[in-house]
């Protein structure tokens, strides 16, 4: 059963000169519940735009994005926000941890708009990613690898059905990248969450059984995106 189903998804941007520039035209894309999928795409190919459309951050020009049985394209912005809070975990390339908050507070933030603040659950998550002794550290007091772990814990904080990872290892060396990927895949598998990871890094992509090419799926050529 698909947790995500995309049909005839189109998105364009209005350039500064007023001209509308198409960036994405995706006839069909789906992920079954619990599956781990990698999406390969070059820089500027529309990967992040696609993730933002799937997460409901952006609204599609046309087409349908059905997530956990809800069509995001017919939902209001507030409804999409609520849906995102409950069903989507997001791991960003730069982690996007809030610097003024501790590791624990960053994970609590991930819960706040979904299932609500649950300190014990947040502590358990950090323990699970090996940061039981770093819970009250601020991001800048953590190593890059530890920050990545906090980001993963935060993404899983609401027990989402789908975790989106946007170049999640882009800032890591090979050793840390592999460790982070292992963690993410294991944590998603344990939680029963589907994982959609976008990357252009071949070494990362090779570790996935299901790798899809955005260039093949997107009718808009990479050069126009």
């Amino acid at each position: 059963m698909p947790v995500l189903e995309v049909t005839n998804l189109k998105k364009s941007y209005v350039a500064p000169d007023g001209e509308r520039t198409p960036i994405l035209d995706l006839p069909q894309f789906s992920i079954d519940a619990g599956r781990q999928v990698a999406l390969r795409g070059a820089s500027g190919s529309g990967k992040t735009t696609f993730l933002n459309l799937v997460a409901g951050v952006l609204r599609a020009d046309e087409g349908r994005v059905v997530l956990a049985g809800l069509d995001l394209t017919v939902l209001s912005e507030a409804e999409r926000d609520r849906m995102r809070a409950r069903n989507v975990g997001y791991v960003f390339q730069t982690f996007n941890l809030l610097q003024g908050y501790t590791a624990l507070e960053n994970v609590l933030l991930g819960m706040m708009f979904g299932k609500g603040l649950d300190r014990a659950a947040a502590e358990a998550l950090l323990e699970r990613v090996g940061l039981h002794d770093r819970m009250h550290y601020r991001p800048r007091q953590l190593s890059v690898g530890q920050q990545q772990r906090v980001a993963v814990a935060r993404a899983l904080a609401n027990d989402p059905g789908l975790v989106l990872a946007d170049e999640p290892t882009g800032n890591l060396d090979v050793h840390h990248a592999n460790a982070a990927l292992d963690l993410m895949c294991e944590a998603c598998a344990e939680n029963g969450a589907a994982l959609l990871l976008v990357s252009h890094d071949t070494a990362i992509l090779e570790r996935f059984d299901d790798v899809r090419e955005l260039a093949e799926l997107n009718r808009v050529g990479a050069e126009t995106a």
Binding site: E77, N96, F113, G114, E167
Partner: protein, 426 residues
Amino acid sequence: MRGLWFLVRRSLRQHILSTVITVLAVALASGLVMAVFSINTQTHKAFTGGETGFDAVLGARGSPLQLVLNTIFHLETSPGNIPWSLYQEIKRDPRVKLAIPYAVGDNYLGFRVVGTTPEIFTDFEYRKGTKFRVQGHDPANPDGPRIFDPELREAVIGSYVAQKTGLRFGSVFSPYHGIDFREKAQHGEQYVVVGVLEPTNSPSDRVIWIPIEGIYRMGGHYLRGAGEDYEAKPEEEIPDEHKEVSSVMLKFRGGKMVGMRLVEDINTRGKVATLAYPIGEVMAELFQKLGWVTRILTLVAYLVVAVATGSILASIYNTMNERRREFAILRALGARRATVFSVIVAEAVSIAALGSALGIVVCGCILWGAAVVVRAQTGVVLDPFTYHTALVATPAGMLLLGALAGLLPAFKAYSTDVAENLAPQS
């Protein structure tokens, strides 16, 4: 709601320096406003509506306000003297229940020496049902604290005088000539303190009471009751025609009509004296004259509030650019636009609330300071802890202004483009 305050607390903590400075600015502003209104009301009430124990003051022809300031509050100079005969005449008037003469012109270390009769202690009630009481007075002990003997050089002093000068029962002092203290103007006569009055929280606490004859017989004092200078001689009675008094404090039998008739008799038909009546209205005239001061103080207080409101706006607005990414992340985590909007408004309101709470402390300090100064200068006691609507209205207004100040940055947060402010596009 719990989540909202979680975000607000963290944000205030994250920008702790600007938060603290803004809270202090709001505290000073709200404290100032509360204090201005409170002091204004309290002083007005204390000077115009407070119980003085007397209904009217009879004194030399001139300004009733100067007369009241000089005799009730022991401030200002005396407008002049009236003949002893006038005092006796008003004392005999059946409409007058009590007439007590005051003779002024000397001081001790700046505290006014007032010559009067023992009736001030035996008959006068400075508050309904309450007379002056000498501390430690025991009728069974004639050698202990008591009121002065009008035939002797004895003094009864107010509690504040005792506190400030160190004079106590048995102390000997020599008054200084004039209303203002000048070290070289000391009289040779020595007075013994025979009693210290219990605190009355009134201007009387700042007075040194001596027998009226003592003023007449003080070296260098000349009596002009008969139109020529007369200097009292030791062991010789002073003829009444030479005597004069600075003022006569009056208590009427009957209500307002008596006062109005006496005003008619003395002020309108008479030419020698002035009757200051009613005392509260005379003092209200002073506040009317000084109304512009109050208005300027109020205006300054409002301006300070405006600046404090601006500082709330500026302190939050200045963080908006650096916080765009934070808002985008929160939105990506599922926060609604309304949530980030509410967080910013709640931050502004929290700063205003913290500032207002601290403002009450600031107000208390200002009022306490003002009470000390007013008491030292006039003897009038203000109560810093008296309730005033400004103590509620100002914090409430400050919260509203805080919320308004938060609207602009909140709208900026509300409009943050999520996708644009997250990770670089690929």
